[in-house]
């Protein structure tokens, strides 16, 4: 059976400016299940944002298809909400209006009062209440702006929520608070999320599964690492979980070394680049406790 969101043989090529072609990634094939939180990790230039834009319908791939809920993705849609790195709030609208214009687009049949009530509710869910929601985005801090952007996306309850490095421009403390809020709101909504990040700890905290990309050009999604830490997670407690450092070390190794070694291998025609599933679980009784090597089992699916 096909996964809820299925990315099949996605290839993106751009002209390289010298008459030739630059392959950003080739035959990328992976899936995301309904309600799953998937994070994609990789170095700059590996095409993460390009994948994100294709999923959002803002860009077209050179070849390959994206199928969501049995339908091919063609062009942008309210079913796929996007939180952009730079918030992308409309500066001439108030905070409330920034959310409600999206809600009104999603539910054209609602009355103004319904739209306002729904928007206010979602702003409250990210901690924005009272006078603040009548302010313009320029009067808010960076963290508050990103909260508005997250509220706007969740308020529309899209089938797929795309987060493009949503915390990249925030300081570490604010980032932590908003990550917690994101986890809370995600837990309530059973939202399918696909997120880009550079931050390994953030990825482990939030994700059900982490997709690892090799360096570009000719990048590919090489591994799919399952995060075997139970929810609800808490940033101070997960570090004590036996799997935390095992997973973290695996990710650091990949980004530091193997992403380079694995990159630049052209694929043969017709071959699809499915990621290798990696499951690291130190709590699994099947694992031999005498085994000193990192508990790592590669399963080809």
């Amino acid at each position: 059976m096909k996964p809820y969101l299925s990315i099949e043989n996605l290839t993106q090529k751009f002209p390289d400016g010298a008459g030739g072609e630059l392959t950003v990634f080739e035959n990328a094939t992976f899936g995301v299940e309904k309600g799953e939180f998937v994070v994609i990790l990789g170095h700059s230039g590996c095409g993460k944002s390009t994948i994100m834009n294709i999923l959002a319908g803002l860009a077209d791939p050179t070849s390959g298809v994206v199928v969501m809920d049995g339908q091919e993705v063609k062009g942008p849609s309210l079913d796929r909400g996007v939180v952009f790195q730079n918030y992308s709030l409309l500066p001439w609208l108030s905070t409330l209006k920034n959310v409600s214009f999206g809600v009104a687009a999603r539910h054209p049949e609602w009355t103004k009062a319904q739209v306002a009530e729904h928007s206010t509710k979602f702003l409250a869910m990210v901690g924005l209440e009272g006078d603040v929601i009548r302010r313009k985005p320029s009067q808010l801090s960076g963290g508050m702006r990103q909260r508005v952007s997250i509220a706007r996306a969740f308020a529309n309850h899209p089938k797929l929520l795309l987060l493009d490095e949503p915390f990249g421009a925030l300081d570490a403390l604010t980032r932590g608070t908003i990550q917690d809020e994101l986890l809370k709101i995600w837990g309530q909504m059973e939202q399918t999320v696909f997120m880009i990040t550079h931050d390994i700890d953030e990825a482990i905290l939030l994700a059900d599964r982490i997709l690892l990309m090799t360096n570009g050009p000719q990048a590919r999604v090489a591994e799919s690492v399952e995060i075997t830490i139970p929810r609800p997670r808490n940033r101070t407690e997960i570090v004590e979980h036996p799997n935390y450092y095992a997973i973290r070390n695996h990710l650091v190794q990949f980004l530091g070394k193997r992403s380079k070694e694995l990159s630049g291998q052209p694929t043969e025609p017709g071959q699809s680049n499915k990621p290798t599933t990696v499951r690291i679980d130190k709590t699994d009784p099947q694992d031999d406790p005498e085994d000193k090597r990192p508990a790592l089992r590669a399963v080809n699916s």
Binding site: L78, P91, W92, F101, S138
Partner: protein
């Protein structure tokens, strides 16, 4: 000891500059020479009359009071109140200006949205834009035939360019992210234009509109001097022909005051549509 705010100090300085300027002006006007014994011939040729000269500010003030206390009198084609003359000018300016806006803003939108339209229309704009609006006057008079409509056409042609160019520039410069927000919310072309692109480009568009109204008000004086009949430009020229320099100075001041009022209307509009990123 009390201190004045910045605005109060500035206002005080303005008043001082005004008073000093008026005093210097008043003092610089040479007094009329006392008229001695006149021959019969001199009396007949008006030798006893005061000579025409630049009026003193006190004379201008008297004139202004006289004119502004009854601005709308109409005593025939060559003797109308200042209010009527300015009214005609404003009517022509606004008619030509709004016709220009009706063409320039939608066309600017098109040029801003479409690189093809931009490249195709750019050479025409670059050639037509530097033409002095008054250079169109003979052609307008010949083709349109009516001097009133020709004046309006001249206003139209001079105010179209800043609005057109600024609209195109503003629309083309709308941030990609905002357009993407509209796209991911499935806003149609119409809604995207009105809910996202128009407010995003509004500060640039209104700046163009403000430049245009300034140019239109500059041009109407010259245009009315040419076409004659009515209007503040005609009034200035007519008073020059009458050698009534007091009226000339008074109407110059009125042109300034009305121009400032038109500009401050658009300054207000500009403040309304400006946003901080």
């Amino acid at each position: 000891m009390f201190t004045l705010s910045l605005n109060q100090r500035a206002a005080l300085l303005s008043v001082v500059i005004l008073l000093v300027g008026l005093l210097v002006w008043e003092a610089a006007i040479p007094a009329q020479k006392a008229v001695g014994e006149l021959t019969e011939y001199e009396i007949l040729t008006g030798g006893g009359q005061p000579k025409a000269g630049v009026p003193a500010p006190s004379q201008v003030l008297v004139k202004a009071w006289e004119q502004l206390s009854d601005p709308f009198y109409d005593a025939g084609p060559n003797d109308k109140g200042i209010g009527i003359q300015i009214g005609y000018s404003i009517y022509r300016v606004l008619t030509g200006y709004f016709l220009a806006a009706l063409v320039a803003i939608p066309l600017g939108f098109l040029i801003g949205m479409s690189p093809v339209a931009y490249k195709a229309l750019n050479p025409f704009i670059q050639v037509l834009r530097p033409i002095s609006p008054l250079a169109w006057m003979p052609l307008a008079l010949f083709i349109i035939g009516d001097s009133e409509a020709s004046a309006i056409f001249v206003i139209f042609i001079c105010s179209i360019w800043p609005m057109l160019i600024n609209t195109a520039f503003g629309v083309a410069g709308v941030r990609e992210d905002w357009v993407n927000v509209a796209r991911t919310h499935e806003l149609g072309a119409f809604k995207t234009a009105f809910l996202v692109i128009l407010p995003a480009a509004a500060p640039t568009i209104v700046t163009g509109m403000r430049i245009s109204i300034g140019i239109a008000w500059l041009v109407i004086v010259a245009a009315e001097m040419l076409v004659g009949g009515t209007g503040i430009g005609y009034y200035v020229w007519n008073e020059w022909n009458n050698l009534d320099l007091t009226s000339v100075v008074f109407s110059i001041l009125m042109i300034g005051v009305v121009g400032m009022m038109l500009d401050s209307m658009f300054a207000y509009l500009q403040r309304r549509v400006t946003y901080v990123e």
